[in-house]
Amino acid sequence: MAKYLLLKHYRGAPAAVNDVPMDQWTPEEISAHVQYMHDFAARLEETGEFVFAHALAPEGTFVRYDGEGRPPVTDGPFAETKDLIAGGMVIDVDSYERAVELAGELSAAPGAGGKPIHEWLELRPFLTEPPTITE
């Protein structure tokens, strides 16, 4: 089994096919979308492939060490193109192919007009511990 992180982006990913902001959907479309995400996670829990999922607030800040005193905080060195992560889900699956399959399924969550959003999700494998070598 290998762990993968599925990243959803507010900005920074290529535009989705069905790219309508959520507040322009109908309340029923929002409910259907939320339900799809719940069902997806619940199904992965049953298959034993779910590890963790969490949403993140849109506003983040960049912080760095800048000598003694309080570290400076800005809303980002590249505010225009800042990669904004909306949240993520960690899955633990048998193969890269399975991870791609699940990411594709998640990207098909329904959006405006009840049609799949086709949003781009970023798939990142977890680096693993080096194998224990027993002599």
Partner: protein, 381 residues
């Protein structure tokens, strides 16, 4: 094994040890050892006096631990002067524990953790689960808190307000995992109210009982937020409401008003209305005026603006809102709501979407996004 009994005895046993001069951290360890021993022994040999049993065992554990210490002789000399463990006194040591755990030198999160452990008798694992942090992290937080208060004299009277704040924090953490912190906060506040005669303690107890009575209706089965006006009032816990109102009335009759009593009065007015439309908003505004006078908190004045909007119309609410800084949490959401009531759906939809962007949790964000979507769907398409 009666876990509730053990949990309720824990604080007084701990208190007795500390009163005898045992260092707080050492007393805590000794009591935990005694609890483990109780779990092992009691099913086969239930004691006649559970509290006395726990005190005796904890005291022995403390003696053992102390004897094993490097400074053995010096400490043994000290112990010789201690009175022998006699019958357990029924002094309200629990109260002292509350003050110690809610000591101003602790951060709120440490105070909460320590209170749940020492007064609530929860295990470190249970507290860690409730706060979704690893057990080792919570163990560190608690032991650092114990070190911080270990030098604090046990008999110095603490500040009731700090204790109440900690209990309210516990209540507001609500429910997660197998520990229901809201129920735990109610249990502890009841205990405190039994130990201390103070109108604000009664006020807090009334307040959390009234909030708790509505808890089941605050979210839909799918976890989404249900606003007060849309909650199914037939599912409110009427026994809890009646108890809260009675406690509040007794407290108010003593004419020593404080912020918890005022908040409880507002909660009682909401609980009292058979339908949302029949809510006595005029009286609620009056109570918010009292509350603003007592606390001078901008959040209170924000809530007051909502109440004014209901009592005197959305324009009056917006005027009250205009006097507040728009950086306040939920300011945008309130503005959106009042603009919608005023009929300005375009502004309301824009503000709902903006408020969703700033929402502090997922349920609230989904709710606000839905509000924006509802108005946009009504205007367009």
């Amino acid at each position: 094994m009666d876990e509730a009994l053990l949990r309720s005895l824990t604080p007084s046993v701990l208190g007795i040890l500390v009163r005898r001069g045992v260092d707080f951290a050492a007393a805590e360890d000794a009591v935990q050892d005694a609890l483990i021993e109780a779990v092992r022994v009691w099913p086969d040999a239930p004691p006649r006096d559970p509290k006395g049993w726990l005190v005796t065992v904890a005291w022995r554990r403390f003696l053992d631990a102390t004897r094993a210490d490097a400074a053995r002789r010096r400490r043994e000399g000290l112990l010789d002067e201690e009175p022998p463990p006699g019958p357990a006194p029924t002094v309200d040591d629990t109260l002292q524990l509350y003050f110690l755990c809610a000591h101003p030198s602790l951060t709120p999160s440490s105070a909460v953790a320590l209170t749940l452990r020492a007064v609530g008798g929860l295990t470190t694992r249970q507290i860690a689960q409730a706060y979704l942090v690893p057990e080792a992290t919570m163990a560190q937080r608690i032991s650092r808190a114990k070190r911080t208060v270990s030098g604090v004299p046990f008999d110095r009277p603490g500040d009731v307000a700090t204790v109440l704040r900690v209990l309210y924090l516990v209540f507001n953490e609500g429910y997660s995992g197998d520990v229901d912190l809201a129920a735990e906060a109610i249990r502890l506040t009841r205990q405190l109210a039994a130990a201390i005669d103070h109108p604000e303690v009664a006020g807090l107890l009334a307040l959390i009982l009234l909030h708790h009575a509505r808890r089941a209706t605050r979210t839909a089965p799918d976890g989404s937020l249900v606003p007060l006006a849309e909650q199914d009032r037939s599912r409110w816990d009427t026994a809890s409401i009646a108890e809260g109102v009675e406690i509040l009335q007794t407290a108010l009759a003593r004419d020593r008003l404080g912020e918890y009593q005022a908040q409880a009065a507002i909660a009682a007015l909401h609980a009292d209305a058979p339908t949302a439309e029949e809510t006595d908003w005029v009286q609620i505004v009056e109570w918010y005026d009292e509350l603003a006078r007592l606390t001078d908190s901008p959040v209170v004045r924000l809530n007051r603006a909502v109440a004014v909007g209901e009592a005197d119309g959305p324009r009056a609410g917006l005027a009250a809102l205009a006097e507040l800084q728009d950086t306040l949490p939920r300011h945008t959401a309130v503005a959106a709501y009042l603009h919608e009531r005023d009929g300005d759906l375009t502004t309301a939809a824009r503000l709902y979407a903006e408020a969703a962007h700033k929402a502090p949790n997922l349920a609230e964000r989904d709710y606000l996004t839905r509000q924006a979507a509802r108005l946009n769907a009504r205007r367009g398409r």
